[in-house]
Symmetry: C2
Subunit: 297 residues, 2 copies
Amino acid sequence: MSGIVQCVPNFSVGRDKKTLEKILDKIREKDVKLLDYSMDKDHNRSVVTFIGQPEEVIEAAFDAAKKAAEVIDMSTHQGEHPRMGATDVIPLIPISGITTEECIELSKKLGARIGEELGISVYLYEKSASSDRRRNLADVRRGQYEGMKEKLISEGWKPDYGPKELNVKAGVTAVGARTPLVAYNINLDTNNLDIANKIAKSIRAKGGGFTYCKAIGIEITERDIVQVSINMTDYTKTPLFRVFDTVVREAERYGVNVIGSEIIGLVPMNALIDSADYYLRLEEFDKGQILEKRMAE
Amino acid sequence: MSGIVQCVPNFSVGRDKKTLEKILDKIREKDVKLLDYSMDKDHNRSVVTFIGQPEEVIEAAFDAAKKAAEVIDMSTHQGEHPRMGATDVIPLIPISGITTEECIELSKKLGARIGEELGISVYLYEKSASSDRRRNLADVRRGQYEGMKEKLISEGWKPDYGPKELNVKAGVTAVGARTPLVAYNINLDTNNLDIANKIAKSIRAKGGGFTYCKAIGIEITERDIVQVSINMTDYTKTPLFRVFDTVVREAERYGVNVIGSEIIGLVPMNALIDSADYYLRLEEFDKGQILEKRMAE
C-alpha cells in the first residue's frame, strides 16, 4: 500500500508539555512528518497532526499510543472535553494516492495491534465502524472514561479489538478512517446574525442542504460582521465551490454580499484544485499535470 | 540555494532513441526527477523535462550537455526545427522556493561551465540575456548552426561564455532563466475563426491585451469549434483566471459561449491555486496551509 495518510490523534494531556513531548518523540522517531500539535489546558487534551506513508503512519500511531498508555493515567484525568482514553481517538485520513477503503484497512490493522499488544479496548468509528451506531464518535464516547467499565460489557458495545475489561490506566481508544475535514468560513457584509444563521441552515445537511456540510452562523464582533462557519466533512463529494456559490446566492436574497472566505488550518491541495477546475471550466484536466504532484510520485 | 528548478533542455536528436537514451542516462544518474521527454522525427529534436534542487539540476544539465556533445554531430544534422547546437537550448525555470534572480545566477554558472569545460560557445538568453537583442531565442538562433561560424565573430555577437570559434561538432548552446510557461486553450461554441482571432487579439500583449499573454485563434475541425490558443508567459503576473474571465466577456460580445478551457502539459500548482483563491475570494490564505506544500518543505 502506498500514498499519503494523515493521522490526527488526540491525547488526554493538555497541561504538561513534558508528557506530551514524550509522546511526540515517538512520532518524530518514525519516517513521518509532524505537521502540527496544540495543547488545550481547559480541555486537558492535545491534538497532533502528522502525515506519511501508510505503514510508517501506523507504526508512529502505535508507538505514540503505547507511550501515552505509559505516561497518562486516565484514572486521575480531569478536563472539559469529552474523553475516554489516554489516546482518545486516532483518525486516519486519505490525502493522496490512497483510498478511503485502504485507510479503513489500515485502521483495522492499527486497532488490532492496540487491542492485542497493549491490552486496550478499541472501538472502530466513522468509515471503519462495524455498525451504524458506532459511526459517530459522540455515540462511541458517550459515558466517557467513567462510564466505560459498564459500557464495554453492555449489549451491543463489545469492543472491536482488545479486552472487554477496562484498562483502568489507558481507558478506551477509538480508531477509524475519515475523510479530510476542511474548516471553511464565509464572511458576510452585515452584522445581522439572523441572516448568517438562515444561510447556514440552508446549506447544512441537517437543514436540507449539502450532505457533507455542517454550518452555523457566528458573530465576528471585532470586524462587526457575521460569518457562516462551515465544516466540510467530505470535500470530494460536497465541493467548496458549490457551497461558496450557494452562499453568494442565498446572501443576495437578503441584499447581503459575501466579503470573502477563509480556510482555517490545513487543506488538501485537491480541495482547491477542484475549485480552479470548476471556475476555469477545465476539460479533461488530469491532476498528474500538476508539477508538484508529478514530483511527489 | 534551495527550492525547485525545472529544466527543459532541447537536444538535436530526434530519430535515434539510443542516442537520446545515452543523454537521458546522464540525467537519471543525478538526484533529479525526469518528468517527461519527447522525440520529434521531422524536427530531429528532443525536448526533455526534469526537475530538482538547484545544484543537482545544474549538474544534470551539464552532464547531459557533455554527453550530447559526444554523441551528436551537428556537422551532419538535418531537421525542420531551427537549431544551432547539439544541446540547443537549456531553459531554467523557477518552480517553488526559488526566485527568477537565483535562476539567472544558476544559468550563468551553467553557461560558464559549458563554455570553459566543454569548449562550447554559449549565449545567455531570456531573463539571463546580457543585452536586449539576446533576450529572444529566435534572435539568438537566427542563422542557425550553418551561420554560427560567422555570427560568433560578428559585431555584438561575442558569446557570453566559451570560444569565439565554432565548436564544429557541438555547435552553440543558449542558456537562460525563464518563467514557467503555461499552455492554455479556451474553447468557444462557434466554428467562426474570425471570432477566435478577434478575441485572441484583444487579450494578447501585442494587441494591447495582457502583458504576459500570447494568443492566436485556431480551428478544431474534429469538434467543429474554434479555440483561443494561449501561451501564458508569466502566470504570476498575468493570472489564468483574469484571461479566462476576459475571454468569457469578450465572447459574450459576439453572442458566443465558452465551452471550457484546457491546460496542455505540466502546470505549476500555484497557477491553479491562484484561481481558486480568486474565485473563492479567500482572505489571508497562505499556501503553507496546503498539506502537500507543507509536506514538501
